[in-house]
Amino acid sequence: LAPWVPVVGLEIHAQISSNSKLFSGSQVQFAAPPNSLVSFFDASLPGTLPVLNRRCVEAAVMTGLALNCSINKKSLFDRKHYFYADLPAGYQITQQRVPIAVNGRLSYSLCIDNKMSQMVTKTVRIKQIQLEQDSGKSLHDDTRSQTLVDLNRAGVGLMEVVMEPDMCCGEEAAAAVRELQLILQTLGSSQAVMAEGKLRVDANVSVHHPGEPYGVRTEVKNINSIRFLAKAVDYEIQRQIEELENGGTILNETRAFDSKLGCTVPMRDKEGKQDYRFMPEPNLPPLILYDAKSLPANMNHQQVVNIDWIHERLPDLPSVKRAKLVEQYGILPEHSFTLLNEDGLTEFFENVVKQTQMKPKKVIGWILNDLLSYLKQHSLTVKESPVSPFLLADLLNLLEKKEISSTAAKQVLAELWKGEGKAPLEIVKEKELELIQDQKELEQICQAVIDGQENEVIMMVLG
């Protein structure tokens, strides 16, 4: 059978981390009472007008710069029309013609095998980033045949990040999204938590034979975690391959991922072949951004968004942070990935390193193998760790000074997990785990053992 080339692209919606919404002053807050954060504009009351939120523009510029995009100094807003209960105005304000950022790229890394021993770097092209409004939420109450609409989320700012179909499998898609998530969280432009709906991913999947044109693609929605993203993509690739090998065809449709069944199912055709009747948003002038060169001399700094000013203030991106960790501490690249992957772990590690004489190269083992696996076993975050950096450093110092063996250290650590507040030294003393340093004492002990096992000794000596 001829090989198949799977092609995966992603459309990611990241909710912008801001105090107020994209075009109105109502608050942005997760899990507030229904319809308590709705301004007149959000409710589409007649006569209300959009006013662009500066912070949202800055968030998009930051994100664009971090993803190596060209920032469009002039971008435009459009209306995308469709009727739905959670879209009060009957249209969404988005950027269809000229978005705020284009032509970027994201580098991400994958392990070649499961042991995190070999990493390979890949790149995915970023087609564009656009600013747009989020919709409200509809809750279907089938028992009462009604739909309940909560407009708290209506109008919240989103950045839609479009990733070109440069990925080939679930693992790549997951790794790319994970890296994007870390970047957004580092920038602070989005909290990017998938579980809270602050990061939503739709996957576009198709397969084709090498040398042939791309196949028909399907869009997969309803993916609620990075883990499910990988599953959904891989499932869909398999489904398409099987379908085609059985002589079937792929429909250009939208499918939903069913996490319970682990498969994709066709979605109820909620929009059909929609013509969104795009039209320029007449109430918003073109968005003009400046840089150091184009900024007019007498322009009030408060009135404009300066791309260069934002660029200068970008924090270290994850890739830079990792490289610094590797350089500074002599750890492996794979290690730096794991450190950044767990919220708070880098900080923990660095705190331990500061407080111990043990070399970072050795400390990292304790962090990644012992600490992390314990946390994972008990579903704890780093912040919830019963063992503080101070305690761990204390323990590692004992080990470093050869006061205990590494086996003993593991035993002490096991005790420390109980979180009873005992210091490592205390536990060592309690359990009599001290390493005996005195040569004479050691000889005496050995002698005592030998003396007590005469027969075995004779057998050993005789061979």
Binding site: G47, H81, A85, P88, G90, R277, M279, N283, P285
Partner: protein, 526 residues
């Protein structure tokens, strides 16, 4: 009493001097509204709140601390502006009973100045029309239908004929506001102007109708027809009054991103005596097919007036004028289709009882809520916005719009200060004749002289000029440069002073006429 000019005007002066109180003024207007009810100019009369506002104003005058020239002045507002606590219907079933929680910026500004809001005036449904005949509350009647001037000239067709049958339309879509000002029930009114909706009824009702430059006055709270062309319009009985109202409304509004940032300085109009420094342009394309010979003659006379006073008067050309109607139609309907999408019955307004599904509820709600005119424009607009049509219609129309706007730029750049044109093709037609043609046809015909100014965003003003042979008002239009309202109104005021347009002779007004209205050629607050 002669006045020295400035921002202090006759009624304002009378209020200040205590010759009349705000409450008296308000009561007289409310009473006159009642006796002119047959005009159907008002949809809602806010009697209680108006009297309260008048009381507050009176207290301020007694303390010697009026808020300004507009303090205590009764005004009316077209019913497509949001007014908190007072119904805003847009003359549509869709918004019958809708009480907005907020005031439009322009309404708030007037209230902050102490103006007394008498009520909301009638219009074509959602401001779509040129007759003020297509709203759910019925048509507005032109007060001049009942004037001595018109009655004298009209020949009764038979004895049994209902003398009412010959009443003429106000024009539209701000007919209610124009009628309200024309019949003295208020001293100023807000209208809106998208294709001529303030200037057209101003011309037919013999009042001043100002369309300001797009971006000068906030549209926040004005329920939109065409966002890229709509402006709040000002209707008054004289040009000076329009300048006063403009001064209280213009300026940047952070709630409206299409208003310009520049500071606006309210101005007093000079009493210009020497017009010779001005260059007046007469666009030849405005000699449009269907222009009545009467108005043509009047236009010519006006041009001569300027010439004889020493101004430069030249014919100019705006070559793309003939494409403006079609261009306007495409862009207008497209924006209408978009703006009306929010009326789905879910959040506010009319909601149909049909509840088999959300879609069926939407469809029924919109069918029940909108009249044919609105639905027709939505259908057209959606057609033009379809992917396969967008390039050929919408984009093309935008390009043509640019050409139309450039016509004006070129002319103004060549040294012309002001353009002088007719406002309407004829005087007001009788209602029975008007309704023989459909709304679309009428709008197409009636907007031709006014809507290019909306396409180009330019300021324009109707100045009542003379009475037609039928005894009905005819106005002429001045179009100025962007944001040069002061120059525009200065020339308009000079013209107004030369021609001395007659005051309407209305029985009902006469009965209420004492005190303030006496001895005035045009009873205004200026």
């Amino acid at each position: 009493a002669a006045w020295k000019g400035g921002l202090r005007f006759q009624v304002s002066a009378a209020l200040k001097e205590g010759r009349v109180t705000p409450t008296e003024l308000c009561q007289r207007c409310l009473s006159l509204i009642k006796s002119t009810k047959f005009l159907n100019a008002y949809i809602t009369v806010a009697e209680e709140t108006a009297l309260k506002q008048a009381e507050e104003s009176e207290k301020r005058y007694r303390r010697g601390q009026p808020l300004g020239v507009l303090d205590g002045i009764p005004i009316a507002v077209k019913d497509n502006f949001n007014t908190a606590g007072i119904e805003t219907t847009c003359a549509s079933n869709m918004l019958k009973g809708y009480v907005s929680p907020y005031n439009a910026t322009v309404v708030q500004k007037l209230l902050d100045q102490g103006a007394v809001l008498l009520g909301k005036t009638n219009l074509d449904e959602f401001a779509m029309g040129s007759g003020s005949t297509d709203g759910v509350f019925g048509p507005v009647r032109n007060p001049w239908s009942y004037s001595r001037q018109y009655k004298e000239k009209s020949v009764p067709k038979s004895h049994s004929e209902d003398k009412d049958a010959n009443w003429v339309i106000t024009g539209g879509s701000s007919g209610g506001s124009a009628a309200a000002v024309s019949s003295f029930t208020c001293f100023a009114a807000l209208g809106s102007d998208t294709g001529g909706s303030t200037r057209n009824p101003a011309a037919h009702c013999g009042v001043v109708g100002l369309k300001p430059t797009y971006g000068l006055i906030s549209r926040h709270g004005l329920i939109p027809l065409v966002n890229s062309m709509d402006v709040p319009g000002i209707l008054t009985r004289c040009v000076d009054d329009a300048a006063v109202v403009l001064g209280s409304l213009a300026g940047h509004d952070p709630k409206d991103s299409t208003t310009i940032q520049d500071n606006f300085n309210p101005f007093e109009l000079p009493n210009l005596t020497d017009i010779s420094k001005f260059s007046i342009g007469i666009p030849k394309e405005y000699h449009a097919p269907g222009l009545s010979s009467e108005i043509l003659a009047l236009w010519s006379k006006a041009a001569d007036l300027f010439k004889n006073a020493g101004a430069k008067v030249n014919e100019v050309s705006l070559p793309h004028t003939r494409y403006s109607i079609v261009c306007y139609h495409v862009l207008c309907t497209a924006e209408v289709a978009s703006n009306m999408a929010r009326f789905d019955g879910l959040e506010y307004g009319h909601r149909s009882d049909m509840n088999k599904s959300t879609e069926s509820m939407y469809a029924a709600t919109r069918r029940e809520g909108f009249n044919d005119v609105v639905r027709g424009r939505i259908l057209s607009g959606n057609y033009f916005l379809l992917k396969q049509n967008y390039e050929n219609y919408f984009i093309k129309a935008q390009k043509v719009r640019r050409l139309i706007a450039n016509d004006f730029v070129k002319v103004f750049r060549s040294g012309v200060d002001i353009l002088l044109t007719p406002t309407t093709l004829s005087d007001a037609v009788p209602y029975m004749e008007f309704i023989k043609e459909d709304n679309r046809t009428r709008s197409t015909q009636d907007d031709i002289l006014t809507q290019a100014a909306n396409m180009a965003g330019l300021p324009a003003i109707n100045v009542p000029t003379a009475l037609s042979e039928r005894g009905l008002p005819v106005g002429l239009q001045f179009i100025g440069r962007s944001f040069q309202e002061k120059q525009l109104l200065t020339v308009a005021k000079w013209f107004e002073k030369q021609i001395k347009f007659p005051m309407i002779q209305l029985e009902e007004v006469k009965r209420h006429d004492h005190g303030v209205f006496q001895h005035q050629k045009s009873a205004s607050f200026s």
